[in-house]
């Protein structure tokens, strides 16, 4: 096999050393900037990838909560619960100047 090397120096882009150095510096600067941009994008991609599962989970929780809320509502109608009474007292305190804070505390104590 022949191992002679042809003289391809007229095609050598690094023959002009200063120009080649500028080219290398430019490539590195642009590459590092692209890398920073790619990392930012990857964080955004990560969030975007998790958006669908997060929405699906929220929807599943909402669906699962429906029977619980219905059951709680039925209990309220039947005799009321401590939770609803406390909420009622807090709402009354917030809206009416006449309700004293002590009434709210009484409600919690019940």
């Amino acid at each position: 096999m022949d191992e002679d090397r042809m003289d391809l120096s007229p095609l050598d882009p690094s023959a002009d050393g200063a120009r080649w150095d500028r080219m290398v510096a430019s490539v590195v600067a642009r590459g590092m900037a692209a890398r920073v941009a790619a990392r930012r994008t990857s964080v955004a991609d990560l969030l975007a990838r998790w958006r669908r599962p997060a929405l699906a989970l929220a929807a599943a929780l909402a669906i699962a909560a429906v029977p619980v809320l219905l059951f709680a509502g039925a209990e309220d109608e039947a005799g009321g619960t401590a939770g609803s009474t406390v909420a009622q007292a807090v709402v009354e305190y917030a809206w009416a100047d006449t309700t004293r804070p002590i009434d709210v505390l009484d409600a919690y104590g019940r």
């Binding site: 042809m6 120096s9 490539v27 590092m32 692209a34």
Partner: protein, 206 residues
């Protein structure tokens, strides 16, 4: 003259894998070392595909920018060169496809090559006569290279311009060392038919 500046894996103080790891941590110096080591090889592969020096420079630069930007996707850091050359080839082939829309294959177009060289001469700072002579030589070389297959051009440019050994060429291009030798042998034989003997300073007798 073939340059042996920074052949891969050996002359540089740091291995590719180490430099890639440092680059992933944002080390600009590591990126610079890799660019000095492989940018000209990237140019050689791009030139093998596009046949145009300016296009090859653009492709090599853009491919390297992409490689740095996506360095996390380099799964085998010790084979950075091969990964980079794949990016270069793809970009160069895309460009070649685009260029063909407006002109013939540049490797088949001697006139295009000479225009290319004439344009290059207007930007050089060296002696105009010397620049013109080099431009003419470059055009002659491009026309001769056009007689080769793309694989032959890649090997001959990496071997004769970049100064790589067959083992290094094989690793970067995904070839066996023997195939690299065979491609170079065939390429040189074809080039001898199209170039003056002075293009082979090592000497050959045809």
């Amino acid at each position: 003259m073939p340059s042996k500046e920074n052949p891969p894996h050996e002359a540089a103080p740091d291995a590719d894998a180490t430099l890639v790891a440092r680059m992933r941590d944002g080390d600009r110096e590591a990126a610079t070392v890799l660019a000095r080591r492989y940018l000209r090889a990237a140019y050689a592969v791009a030139l093998a595909v596009t046949g145009n020096r300016h296009d090859a420079e653009d492709v090599a630069q853009e491919a390297f920018v992409t490689a740095i930007g996506r360095i996390d996707e380099c799964r085998q850091p010790d084979r950075f060169a091969g990964w980079l050359m794949t990016i270069v080839r793809n970009r160069a082939r895309n460009l070649r496809t685009d260029v063909r829309v407006v002109r013939a294959d540049p490797f088949d177009d001697e006139a295009a090559a000479k225009v290319d060289e004439a344009q290059a001469g207007t930007t050089a700072t060296a002696d105009p006569q010397d620049t013109a002579a080099r431009g003419e030589l470059a055009a002659t070389l491009l026309v001769a290279l056009a007689t080769l297959t793309e694989a032959q051009r890649e090997v001959v440019l990496l071997h004769d311009l970049q100064g790589w050994r067959h083992s290094e060429i094989g690793e970067a291009l995904g070839l066996s060392e023997g195939m690299s030798r065979q491609l170079l042998f065939t390429a040189h034989r074809k080039l001898r038919e199209h170039l003056p003997a002075r293009a082979f300073p090592g000497g050959f007798d045809g």
